[in-house]
């Protein structure tokens, strides 16, 4: 089973905070892999919030191809974080040449683009690099987005952290999501490793989505190039989030209504019953099926957790103003924020979406039966 940990903090933290919290939950995961998502970065990246950062794993040959490709489309390297790895990796970790975290300067001709156009092109470039990498097996690209770094690898999370020397001054972030298991539902593939990322939206999940195939077919037929990949049944959670907020213009509270709608009887008594009934019908192919606990991060730097209404997966939230964490187990919270008021810890239930806003002052609980913000 997966174990998840996410933290949002006023002060930039090392990813080790999250990995150590994962480690105390190691009885619950098999230590078969790690996925890290860092946002609202500190250190040197603090000064370049708008520069898109490419995260991935490359061979020497792949790096040369990357450089040629990026140069060709006018991207110049602005800053790079070099991760030098020992020649012999720990047992179970594949040998890699380069773990790349590189911030780029936009080409000049992009200056005239709108934000939407720019974000569309960033997705296109990431997907093109992914295709190139899959063809020659020399590049794996996790994200290409401003103020976001992603690291994924197969193996024990703490061993990987020490192998990659993640405990370093120049790698700090205010929002960190970490997951401690390589996806086992489908083939072993780093693209199947949580968290997943699309245009500023990232989620990771503990659970299984048995409605994966029809949802995948539905997303793929939306005509948006970013809805692709799907090495894991959980990747659709990220894309549904993107679809709900970007394509449908709904708020985060709408996300839960899309993936696990209320029962008809509850909809009938809901203040927004007409909207919800329509949404349940028109988004029927996006209804997930399976016990899932989804933790995610939005472009506005909110952090959230959504519980499945069907069956629960473990998920606890706690913290103090300025620092809140979501964890699969309480011991993960204890490891990361020992100085919190534990009486205020709680476990969201089947109707709940929990949100920590960008100001990190409190935890907001959205119950699915509560009124929705009116549509604009």
């Amino acid at each position: 089973m997966c174990r998840l940990f996410a933290i949002t903090s006023d002060e930039p933290l090392s990813p080790m905070t999250a990995l150590e919290a994962l480690d105390v939950m190691r009885e619950g995961h098999d230590g078969s892999g790690v996925g890290l998502f860092l946002r609202d970065l500190g250190g040197p990246f603090e000064e370049m919030k708008d520069a898109p950062i490419l995260s991935g794993i490359f061979t020497e040959k792949g790096l040369k191809r990357l450089d040629a490709y990026m140069m060709n489309i006018g991207f110049m390297t602005k800053y790079k974080l070099s991760i030098k790895v020992p020649k012999i990796p720990p047992p179970g970790v594949p040998k890699r040449d380069i773990y790349l975290i590189r911030a780029y300067e936009y080409p000049e001709e992009w200056d005239s683009l709108t934000e939407e156009q720019r974000y569309g092109r960033l997705v296109d470039i990431r997907l093109e690099l992914r295709r190139m990498g899959e063809a020659e097996e020399d590049m794996i690209v996790f994200s290409f987005w401003p103020d976001v770094i992603m690291i994924k690898e197969i193996g024990d999370p703490l061993q990987i952290a020490s192998h990659l020397k993640l405990d370093r001054k120049d790698l700090k972030a205010r929002i960190i999501m970490a997951q401690g298991r390589q996806n086992t539902n489908y083939a072993i593939n780093l693209y199947a490793c949580h968290p997943f990322f699309l245009q500023g939206f990232s989620t990771m999940t503990n659970g299984e989505n048995t409605a994966f195939i029809p949802i995948r077919e539905y997303l793929q037929s939306r005509g948006f190039p970013g809805y692709t990949g799907y090495q894991s049944d959980s990747e659709v959670f990220t894309h549904i989030l993107h679809y709900t907020i970007v394509k449908l213009g709904l708020g985060l509270e709408g996300y839960k209504h899309v993936i696990t709608p209320l029962k008809d009887g509850d909809i009938a008594t809901h203040p927004s019953s007409r909207l919800l009934q329509q949404l349940k019908q028109s988004c029927r192919r996006l209804i997930i099926d399976g016990p899932n606990c989804v933790i995610g991060s939005l472009p506005n730097h909110s952090l959230f957790m959504v519980q499945d209404r069907k069956k629960l997966r473990p998920g606890a939230v706690g913290g103090r103003p300025g620092k809140f964490a979501f964890s699969s187990e309480i011991c993960g919270l204890d490891a990361a924020i020992p100085d919190r008021d534990k009486n205020r810890d709680f476990q969201p239930m089947h109707l709940d979406t929990v949100i920590v806003a960008p100001n990190r002052q409190e935890i907001t609980l959205c119950r699915q039966t509560s009124p929705l913000t009116p549509l604009h």
Binding site: M1, T184, N185, G207, E208, T210, A211, F212, I213, P214, E217, Y218, S221, R222, G223, K247, L248, G249, L250, T260, K263, D264, R274, L275, Q278, L279, Q281, S282, C283, R284, R285, I287, I288, D289, G290, P291, R309, K310, K311, L375, H376
Partner: protein
Amino acid sequence: MPSNIPINPATLSIKDLPWRILWDQNKCTLCGQCTAVCPVHAIELGIFRKRTVDASWGKDAKPASTMQVVYGIRQKTDPALACVGCATCTLVCPNDAIMPARSDEADKLRFHRDRGGQARNRGGRRNVPGTVLDQIKFIRISMLTDPALDAGRHEFEIRTLLGRILPPEDNLAFISQNGWIPPVREIYPLMIGGMSFGALSPNMWEGLQMGVSYLNEELSMPVRICTGEGGCPPRLLRSRFLKYVILQIASGYFGWDEIIHALPDMKEDPCAIEIKYGQGAKPGDGGLLMWYKVNKLIAAIRGVPHGVNLPSPPTHQTQYSIEESVAKMIQSMCMAWGFRVPVYPKISATSTAMAVLNNLTRNPFAGGLAIDGEDGGTGAAYNVSMNHMGHPIAANIRDAYLNLVKIGKQNELPLMAGGGIGKSGNLAANAAALIMLGASAVQIGKYIMQAAAGCVGSESDRCNICNIGQCPKGITSQDPRLYRRLDPEAVAQRVVDVFLSFDTELKKIIAPLGRSTSLPIGMSDALGINDYHVADRLKIQYVV
């Protein structure tokens, strides 16, 4: 056989018939019930002359013989009167003295069923047992991350949508702009397909309607039933139960005068309107109600003279092409009910179904597409149409679904599959397979006749005489002496039994797959089959 018996080409012996009556003289009481009840007059009182030889052994004794008359059952061999194997004789015999048995080789009767140049007509369905749906297995059992669900105690949402569903973007925009949102019904995914008042006896129809009403009102299962092309009794049209009924219009427009005139008095809108363009059992052929079944009541409801054959034309004669027909009729029907009722066409499965489907995807008023496969049943059709015309449902529904997926409209236009579902008795498994291949709902007809009323018709050519109005169970007869055998209350109870047991079995299929919050439409990863070519064709897994 005397040497001078007249023989003509159609002279058959009992051996040449598909069914032979076995009769036990020792058990028979000569009550005559079997001969009275036989729907095709295949048996009659037989008077046999029997000689007994007495070969005495005494010195002076001489062999002698005595003549005796024996009464019993004689089976007729005239092709028009051949036994159909319905076994109603067995049913009524107080001593179990009589029973039809199938001939040990292919019958010769089949070559002579065209007397007077009349090609064979019959009821029932294609005379080929089994279906590929029976071979499909559900292979994706949740074992690791999410343990399988408890079918008995978990909460399941077994509902489907009928009607045009807008894409989410349009839906939200139309809500805020107060635009027209097409009517959508949330219904149970197993529907009773179109069987007309006329094809079915009044008692059978009443029983089905009562069963459906009970399911809705007492058990909260939104089961819907289609009228078929034969109109709808006036009282039902004006009752609240109309909301459980899908009114069918077909090329004969039978009963629509009555329906249109009842419009101002309707308390409820019907569930939907089904426009029948084709039927799986006799694709490209119209409905057919033989004159024997057109009594006064049927004639009144349909708006026709009684005692005449009612052949519906194969196509809607007022229309020029299927595209035009579909567009115009859908629009007219939508308008008749003020755009409050979903309207969808039903076609027979065909290799040209995708053309119809693509046409519908561009028609914002189309509320779905029902496709009826070659194994569908009918009350009357030519034998050749039933046995040889049509397309299997599995590949057709799969193609249609994948076509919708390709253009991103898989949620917008629900597909309904019919034709041979539960043919071998595996109703829930067949229905679940079709749903996972892409159907939003399935329609049954023959199955409900078999399960709810005891129809004995089979795919090995047993009974299948629905066309002549002599149904021994009273299901498809308009003769009160026959249909009074069928108790509508008992039919209603069986309908409820069928749906409740189906519901349990469907849960027993989807629970181990980990599905409960929505109907697993298009969940093709759950399906497997041990036939490579079928797997390849249906794009499901090949498993051995």
